[in-house]
Symmetry: C2
């Protein structure tokens, strides 16, 4: 045992803590580093408070994009580079990191520990070769996508802002978009480009791709055909498509006559605006419309979209599209009197359904608790509070304007929500949960519900 | 076949429709009768609109208590008696009715139909003898409880209002409270009696008893000892106790310094006020404090309580205490890595957990949809709208003041929510769901969630 620890200094830590705990500790450590770097005098034009640096680091690492200070006017180029790195680590890094933990553990870990790791990190690759390939593909793929987007955006922004600023803008927004971070160097996010096809397509293309999750991307790369895809990829792709289309048309209809958003735009620009605002709440967090001016039903729809979020093992958060779809499918099966939940000619395991139920319950409870606390500490309309909390939980980053006015307790609650939202409500629960397999079996008995 | 129909004219209907459909049709029929009776000129001092009569009838039958016109000043004694009957039928009647359907079906119904009936009506008594005994106990018990309460309240209200009015008030509020209807003859509900021990104890005693559900009451009557009770009764009793105690202390803490509610009351009256307002949202609907003046976190807590509701097969609605408890237990078991959900040394069937999940999903979806529609049609703060919808769904009847100002579409949406809330979201879904057992079995495949 002693010998093993000397060979692999990290193994001791890995054996002592369980993977969810290691993940949480690493994230906390990264937030600390980020806070220190952003507090360095050369990072900002004017000194910012420790709390604001802490909040910005948390928001960047968790790829949320909620800001208490305006990014473009507060941070120097050095500060912006720090934020870029934090977003890249928080988005792309989370997945890689999970894979690396599994690799370091190799086969030395017991079955229970392995099951727990898979449970909490959503990894299905047990062979080392599969893992290494995944990490490699993941890096190559991400960097390629970001580079292509960087080039496309440069064609737009270099002529507009000159070489230095144009390239900086393009790089920053490429990284921010692919990692679903939602940070922008403009205080009104992408509102200037509401009808610009290039910006709309590149930015949404980036965050939708990043939000699908790497297992889906690798699956598409390998299989080249919808029918051959795994059940997970099929559910994720079809779910994303259906949700986006519904959201697009509902927002278009709700905002059509609203002069503060798309009411005064041309028909085509109305569509672009609706499209962008329909896809960004899951969980990119840019905005091309003024959210505070949107109608209340639109706000409500966006809250639902933020809650659902993106894909498992992606750069996005929320309860995840598949969790939502599995719950819907299970309900539909129950109503039809079917004993099994099926999709695309495959049966969804009961264990997966109970897992989805747990994610849902934990998420709703956390959101309720956070809103409850903020209604005590903040002087703001209920809807702004609810919107802010769900935006933090889904690491979305759009806001009805509350972020800058938050009290200290309010900021801390929002930071905790971003943190839990990013590492996942279930992973967070596993950090604290004592797992024990009871060998006692009790007889079944009926309970009346509903 | 022809002979059977001539013997039992109702049997044809019973065979053609499934029980959830019969239940829904009966309720619609009763609402129609109620509307006609309340529209009779002698029922009101001033003529009311058809819509308002319809709304009142729906509110009374579904034991909700939301009112568009003030009950005491609008309806004559005849009108009040009609409302009393509607409440009694809607509360006590729902359970009896379910039992009667089962009796008429006797053993002529197939196993699938029988299973569906039990599924949707939550009845576990399959023998005719058991059913008859249940109906008898149910009637005797209800009438006895209501009679005792009527006497107690008369001691308070006859000296205060004289014989005629005092007896009328006592009878009306006894029936309204036991059936969790929440109708009051005073426009400020029971606010005058915020610190009155007799009114507090009798009224809350009535609606808490009525809200436990008849199976629990019969179980307590038969067993006389907590350990001997069924799992359902144990979960129901312990769940109710824990929820009520938590709600009492949280409301006491939140409202302690609020001069518009309990801030200016004596310490003991503060406790009475908090107690009453803690137990009434599940799903009695009286109030002894001014709800519009309560703090936002209190409003939020009451919304949660209204959503949870009372017991299965009781005079209350909501998703039901057991549904909520089962979901919590299932989540806790999952986090601990246990493959089975247990409580009080009994295992809760997976089927029951999936059932609870379905109730939760349908309920949340319906509530979301109704709030969404009302944010389009109504000009009111978001919180008032959300509160009104959840109050209607839980057939609670407390309001932040929106009911009287609702548009026609708004009133219809709220009526639909009361209706679904009362017959149960799952029963409602079964009215439309086509049930088919697929014989095709598909292989299992993993889906990543959360
Ligand atoms: K984001
Ligand atoms: K009620």
């Amino acid at each position: 045992m002693k010998k093993i620890i000397s060979l692999h200094p990290l193994r001791g830590i890995i054996i002592y803590f369980n993977p969810p705990q290691i993940l949480a500790i690493t994230f906390l450590f990264l937030i600390l580093i980020g806070t220190l770097l952003l507090k360095v005098p050369t990072a900002t034009y004017e000194p910012i408070s420790w709390l604001d640096a802490w909040f910005t680091a948390t928001s960047a690492i968790t790829v949320t994009g909620l800001v208490v200070v305006d990014t473009g006017s507060t941070y120097t180029l050095f500060g912006e580079i720090v934020i870029m790195f934090l977003m890249q680590i928080g988005g792309l890094g989370l997945m890689t990191f999970s894979v690396l933990i599994l690799m370091m553990m190799r086969k030395k870990i017991g079955l229970r520990q392995r099951l727990l790791t898979q449970e909490s990190l959503n990894l299905n690759q047990t062979s080392l070769g599969g893992l290494l390939r995944l990490v490699k593909l993941l890096f190559i793929f991400s960097i390629t996508i970001e580079a292509i987007a960087f080039l496309c955006l440069s064609f737009k922004w270099v002529p507009e802002f000159g070489w230095s600023d144009g390239l900086n803008q393009s790089l920053f927004h490429s990284i921010s978009a692919f990692n679903n971070a939602g940070f922008s160097l403009w205080s009104d996010s992408l509102s200037q480009y509401v009808g610009d096809p290039l910006v709309n397509i590149v930015i949404t293309g980036l965050f939708i791709t990043g939000g699908l999750g790497f297992t889906v991307l690798v699956d598409i790369w390998d299989k080249k055909g919808f029918q051959k895809l795994s059940l997970h990829s099929k559910l994720m792709l079809s779910g994303t498509l259906v949700i986006n289309i519904i959201a697009l048309f509902v927002l278009f209809f709700l905002e059509y006559g609203n002069p503060e958003t798309i009411g005064n735009l041309s028909f085509v620009d109305k569509l672009w605006g609706s499209y962008f605002q329909a896809v960004t709440p899951r969980t990119a967090g840019f905005n091309s419309l003024d959210i505070t001016e949107m109608t209340v039903p639109s706000i409500l729809l966006m809250m639902l979209l933020m809650f659902i979020g993106a894909g498992s093992g992606s750069t996005g958060s929320g309860i995840k599209v598949t969790t939502f779809v599995v719950m819907l499918l299970a309900t539909a099966s129950f109503l039809r009197g079917k004993s099994e939940t099926t999709a695309f000619k495959r049966t969804i395991k009961l264990h997966i359904i109970i897992r989805a139920l747990s994610i849902m319950m934990i998420s709703i409870s956390l959101i309720f608790l956070a809103i409850f606390i903020l209604t005590i500490t903040e002087r703001a309309p209920f809807l702004s509070i609810a919107f802010e909390v769900i935006s933090a939980f889904g690491t979305v980053g759009i806001s009805m304007g509350l972020t800058g006015d938050l009290t200290t307790i309010g900021k801390i609650v929002i930071m905790i929500m971003m943190f839990i939202g990013r590492i996942g409500p279930l992973t967070m629960a596993f950090v604290f949960a004592k797992r024990r397999q009871s060998s006692v079996r009790y007889p079944e008995e009926d309970v009346f519900t509903g």
